[in-house]
């Protein structure tokens, strides 16, 4: 978007995204690039830094009332750690926060993650616009759920 040309500026309800790398993984270039891209797409972005536990991620998501948790891992632990985040949300009966994944995720794992509600699962080389569109779409679904609760 061209600088200063966003007409919806400050009028709307910006999408709130939590970016996190739960687990032992220090490769944060990708997630920092995404943080800036989401900001430029008009979202409010919270980044919890390196090495948060899945419990911390879920606690933060609740306190900040985000629409989407976006997880990134490049260390191969996604099946364990992403699942833990999804389970914690389920245990706390939270169904209005979406979980989206990314990183180095083998194609064979993607359907398994989808099955527990973790969508996206984009790998290196994915155009940023694809990811932004996906987050926007998931956030819209969550906003609908939230509106129904109110």
């Amino acid at each position: 978007m061209e600088a200063g040309k966003n007409r919806s500026l400050f009028n709307g309800k910006p999408i709130k995204v939590l970016l996190a790398k739960p687990g032992i993984d220090g490769h944060d270039r990708g997630i920092l690039v995404l943080a800036k891209a989401f900001r430029d797409a008009g979202m409010e972005v919270i980044y919890v830094g390196l090495l948060p536990t899945p419990e911390e991620v879920v606690d933060t998501a609740v306190n900040e009332d985000v629409d989407v948790i976006a997880l990134s891992l490049l260390n191969g632990a996604h099946m364990t750690v992403f699942r833990k985040v999804a389970d914690l949300l389920k245990n706390r009966k939270i169904n209005d926060i979406a979980v989206v994944g990314g990183g180095t995720i083998p194609d064979t794992d993607k359907p398994k993650l989808e099955a527990i509600g973790i969508s996206g699962n984009y790998g290196p080389g994915t155009p940023i616009s694809t990811i932004v569109d996906h987050i926007t779409q998931r956030a819209a679904e969550m906003r609908k759920l939230k509106a129904m609760e109110e």
Binding site: F10, G12, G42, E44, V45, N63, D65
Partner: protein
Amino acid sequence: MDELIRGILKGDRRSVSRAISIVENEQVSYNAKKIVKEIFQYTGRAHIVGITGPPGIGKSTMIGNLSAMLSEKGRNVSVVAIDASSPFSGGSLLGNRIRMQESLTRHGVFMRSLANRGLKGGLSRSIWDTVKILDASGSDIIIVETVGAGQADLDVVNLADTVIMVLGPGLGDEIQAIKAGIMEIGTLFVINKMDLPGAFIAQKDIEETLAMSLKKDWNPPVVGVNSLTREGYEELIKEIDRHGEYAKGNSDLTFRKFRTELEITIDEELRSRFHQEIRSFLADSEKIKALMEKKTDPYSAAENLINNIA
């Protein structure tokens, strides 16, 4: 809705955080106003501490330390930190949490990040309602971090009971310290990074400046701290509590805060009443073109529009 309000009063985290989203996203809506109206009678108990100062001076780190130490003393601490929104995209990177995450997790402190969404002055419009929700949810102390402040970002003085001005070495000499604006609003001055050269001189500069305008009832103390070792923090907490006691008995302060909030609220209410009409007027390009052709000046056009609505 009633369940949400009961949740807030019980201190339930999900209710509190959802309610904050409502006052943030749907200002002056029926729901947002209902929340504040219902909880208002339960507010006024918490000590509201504003923390302001230039960007990168260590406000977030300081809040991490303070919230940990206050929690250890058995206080119920809540934190709200405000960061800037982009003037281009409207988006925001809310990065305060990263400096305090460890203390927050260890002590289970509720912390919420807000974007200023274009409001100048160092706060966000929803902060007044947000603080009320946290107050009603049982917080003893609510720490509000402003956007990294320049010389004229002063709004926190109308929100907080106690305003902590965080400074450090290398920010300028005693002339900077006697300028009007932000140096006048501190009820407590903290010199952070006391381990760095020049910090001691900065502390003396501020102390001397403050000594030039001694007041009868409250003279802002200057506390030097080192956030890496938590040196000076016990004294800082003692001063925060001392000012909290002082502010509680100060009817001028309470009155000024209430009047400012009333002013802002009346403003918002007026704007929202006229919002629809103004929008539809601005969307009508024919009408606007007609005004342009007639060479109507903007003041007369605006006066006409408002007279027609009211």
